[in-house]
């Protein structure tokens, strides 16, 4: 977005006016995992006595980041690497530690992040077993050789993200034949397209249960195109209390990548659990709520 983006011109001061009595709004991005994490945060907050509601499905980072900035939502689960790249396009950090270190300074005034969890969910280049065999693919480096023949299925943002087409080109000199955009955040459409060979490579989150379920191959990323992505809360300082911070930090201390995969399976797998219920079950299980 340019300087003309209406989202950036939205008044940051508006945030204080929405809430009353310290009630927090937990937002989420437009894919299920984010929604689950939002429910987890909200559940943990409520359990700790901080009134919190959720505002799911806001959109991509470009949208929800502004929403946190202007106070439309107070907290949102985010991923450390991408968040850093969002606030600093030229960031070179790749490891979890470096990113965690660099991040706070780069955030604009009024925004901050809490402790990062161990749970990680990055974008990954995924192919079917058949494709992997056909082209002898193990890593993205292998992919680079046949790049011009393949179609990549990914969210439309992939075209502009540092790890997306620019990153592929920069790190692997891979320019795919075509980017087929999907709006389901690596969900069923992307999967269907991959399985039916409409796309040969898909951008699917590593925590997606369907990777295991369908025997998909996650291509290795030796050049760290996809940098570390720890789940962590991004928040607007205006309404955040210590009590709330403690509650969220408690979640981050416990949350693991496997937890994420299981939560995703509960919601998007055959069980079709409501994100809120899945979150509640997890919190209860971990003793963070009753």
């Amino acid at each position: 977005g340019g300087s003309s983006n209406p989202l950036s011109s939205a008044p940051a001061t508006g945030g204080a006016s929405t809430g009353s009595g310290g009630a927090l709004v937990v937002g989420s991005a437009d894919f299920p995992e984010s929604q689950i994490m939002a429910e987890v945060y909200a559940g943990a907050l409520n359990a700790a006595g901080v009134t919190a509601s959720t505002k799911p499905n806001i959109g991509s980072r470009e949208v929800y980041f502004k929403a946190v900035q202007d106070g439309s939502v107070d907290v949102i689960p985010d991923y450390s690497g991408n968040l850093l790249l969002h606030v600093n396009k030229d960031a070179t950090e790749v490891s979890a530690e470096d990113i965690a270190k660099a991040l706070p300074a780069k955030l604009p005034d009024g925004l901050a992040v809490l402790d990062a969890s161990k749970a990680e969910d990055k974008d990954a280049m995924v192919v079917t077993k058949a494709t992997a065999e056909k082209y002898q693919l193990k890593s993205i480096e292998d992919l680079a050789k046949v790049c011009s023949e393949i179609v990549v299925g990914a969210p439309a943002t992939f075209a502009e993200r540092a790890y997306g087409l620019p990153g592929l080109k920069k790190n692997y000199n891979c320019v795919p034949k075509k980017l087929e955009p999907f709006s389901d955040g690596g969900g069923p459409l992307t999967l269907k397209a991959l399985l039916s060979d409409q796309v040969q490579v898909a951008d699917i989150f590593t925590t997606t249960p369907s990777i295991a379920d369908n025997d998909l191959v996650v291509l290795e990323d030796p050049k760290n195109n996809f940098i570390a992505q720890q789940v962590l809360p991004l928040y607007n300082k205006a309404k955040m209390t210590d009590k709330a911070k403690d509650a969220l930090n408690a979640v981050s201390r416990i949350l693991t990548t496997d937890d994420l995969i299981n939560l995703n399976r509960a919601v998007s797998g055959t069980q079709k659990q409501n994100p809120k219920d899945a979150a509640a079950a997890w919190l209860k299980d971990k003793g963070l709520a009753k």
């Binding site: 008044p11 937002g27 799911p56 949208v63 069923p188 079709k272």
Partner: protein, 251 residues
């Protein structure tokens, strides 16, 4: 069904939000269109300006409008107000035309009779034009109601709470049940709104259901009586509305 039962609370919450987002624009639209139509009736030029503008407004995709609006009115991106304003704009686009037709549907002779009886303009508007335009106005409202309820779901793409969320979520989770529940819920909502409007109209226009006296027809000039014993098709003049609307760009 199981899913619906398990999540009925959520569905009802979304339905409530959905309804609010659909109804408010209708109310605002009505409050804006009636005076606007009354002004547009003053001259042919004004009328065609209003009519053309309303058809142009309608060619703007709603998603675009939802997003453009914050720049223009200074709201925040997630503010449901954007949806309300956008849908109000669509409602006005439809209702101005409906209101124009509604006022046109008031018998000119009757208006003249009112003038001849010594009604002043405001009294005439309130006591004659407004009540008598109700049937056509309600027809317009019913159209807007259905179209609004359907349009609101688009706002789910922006994360503004309503039944459309069931579609986005259903898509991401590959969950047909959720989508079907969403569709059915929206249909039911539309039907309920329609029923409410019909009921309201019945309450407000008792005279329209007073059956014509057997001899009342004789008041018409002899012309045409019995000339077409076949069924007389419903007047299709209303096509004008959509027709002229479509023609807005061509005018």
């Amino acid at each position: 069904m199981d899913w619906f039962l398990a999540n009925s609370g959520q569905v009802f919450t979304l339905a409530g939000q959905h309804l609010a987002l659909a109804v408010l624009p209708m109310v605002f639209g009505l409050l804006i269109s009636i005076p606007l139509a009354q002004v547009a009736r003053q001259s042919k030029a004004l009328r065609s300006v209003v009519v053309t503008a309303s058809s142009l407004l309608y060619t703007i995709p709603s998603l675009a409008l939802f997003i453009i609006l914050p720049t223009i009115i200074g709201t925040r991106i997630l503010d449901p107000l954007n949806v309300v304003v956008a849908l109000t704009i669509y409602a006005v686009a439809l209702l101005v035309r409906a209101a124009l037709d509604a006022f046109d549907s008031v018998d000119e002779d009757l208006r003249q009779a009112a003038v001849a009886m010594g009604f002043k303009p405001v009294a005439r508007f309130l006591q004659i034009d407004l009540p008598l335009s109700l049937p056509v106005m309600f027809a317009g409202l019913r159209v807007v109601s259905v179209s609004n309820i359907s349009l609101v779901s688009v706002a789910a793409l922006l994360g503004i709470g309503n039944l459309g969320m069931l579609f986005t979520s259903g898509l991401q989770r590959d969950f047909v049940t959720e989508v079907v529940v969403g569709i059915i819920a929206i249909l039911i909502l539309a039907l309920l709104m329609d029923a409410v409007l019909v009921l309201l109209e019945r309450l407000l226009t008792p005279w329209t259901r007073a059956g014509a006296a057997p001899g009342a027809v004789a008041a018409r000039p002899h012309a045409g009586s019995g000339a077409s014993p076949e069924k007389t098709g419903p007047a299709a003049a209303a096509m004008r509305l959509s027709d002229a609307q479509a023609g807005g760009g061509g005018a």
